[in-house]
Symmetry: C2
Subunit: 208 residues, 2 copies
């Protein structure tokens, strides 16, 4: 059985990274797709774990060679999802978590109909603002821009299938885990794996 | 926000009753819809908890008065879901679990598009047979009939949205709970409850 692609999206500062990190520890057969970015590395970030940090020349080169599943310019920096890794893992039967901005998610939506689209929303706009301030990584100007973007991004919620309101981290992690369990119980995904044909063809006399 | 209707179906002896019983203990705001039946009460069953046991005259009277959401004849006995209870609970915001045979589920499917349809399958046909024998409530003739019916019922799996293969009871309960959590995170169901309009109308300045 093929793996499932989970696209996790939502405004900057909503807590996507923490939710994903804890979920990866709890769920088997689930891997994280590491994006490429031209944004400078933050102090707590690790090359190859959080992002592949590349320069703009290399990034444009990868666009030319069609190596991205999607890419976008967000807050003046390029972000892109390497296509090969995602497609290989799905084919091997692993499920893949993608952490992308709302623009990127909208563009993946057109290409991957079978993926599961999950929006992470803040409990309120003020909470989002406070989280961005607490993170302390944004200049005043960047903060304003991210908040403007967030307003626009929230209007895309109706395009997503699921929404998790990130009030309490552990609860959000449990909710994401439930979505992953439930999606793997969808008849459309599971019917091949179980070989249900055995019931139809011989009334189940042959139970492996 | 309205509640969600969960329709649990699958062949006789697959373990629907045990899964439902344990799930009701774990999930808040979830109630069980008690069916009416003309089938004789089994020793461990309680009137009003497992079924409302009625005679055939009363049952036909209820059909006449259109009091059933669905009804069916299964293994020579009538089974029916009282409509009023289900509709009232959903309206109040409670979610409702319905335990009905496959025939009944197919008929509800035409009327309640928003409901969630879950098939409980045995790990194999032989396991199902063994469970029915162990239950010890069936005559040899009944047993044969239930097995014949099971073969037919399994062919309806593709009409359901989710499938739980009941190998281990506790795991099946966890899976049903995950489906219920995930369904309540569906954007289409949640958008009213959260009042997301506040984000769209004023950029989220008003966070209650």
């Amino acid at each position: 059985m093929k793996g499932v692609l989970y696209v996790i999206s939502g405004p900057s500062g909503v807590g996507k990274t923490s939710i994903i990190e804890l979920t990866l520890k709890k769920v088997k057969n689930l891997v994280f797709s590491v994006s490429c970015t031209t944004r400078p590395k933050r102090p707590n970030e690790v090359e190859g774990r959080d992002y592949f940090f590349v320069d703009i020349v290399k990034f444009r080169d990868m666009i030319e060679r069609d190596e991205f599943l999607e890419w976008a310019v967000v807050h003046n920096h390029y972000y892109g999802t390497p296509r090969k890794f995602v497609e290989q893992e799905i084919e091997k039967g692993k499920s893949v978590l993608l952490d992308i901005d709302v623009q990127g998610a909208m563009s993946v939506m057109n290409k991957y109909k079978d993926a599961v689209y999950i929006f992470i929303a803040p409990p309120s706009f003020d909470v989002l603002k406070q989280r961005l301030i607490n993170r302390g990584t944004e200049s005043q100007e960047n903060l304003q821009r991210r908040l403007e973007d967030a307003k626009r991004e929230l209007s895309y919620i109706p395009n997503f299938e699921y929404i998790i309101v990130n009030t309490q981290l552990q609860e959000s992690v449990d909710q994401l885990c439930s979505i992953i369990v439930a999606e793997q119980l969808k008849v459309k995904r599971i019917i091949d794996r179980l070989g249900l044909h055995r019931f139809f063809e011989n009334g189940g006399e042959n139970n492996e």
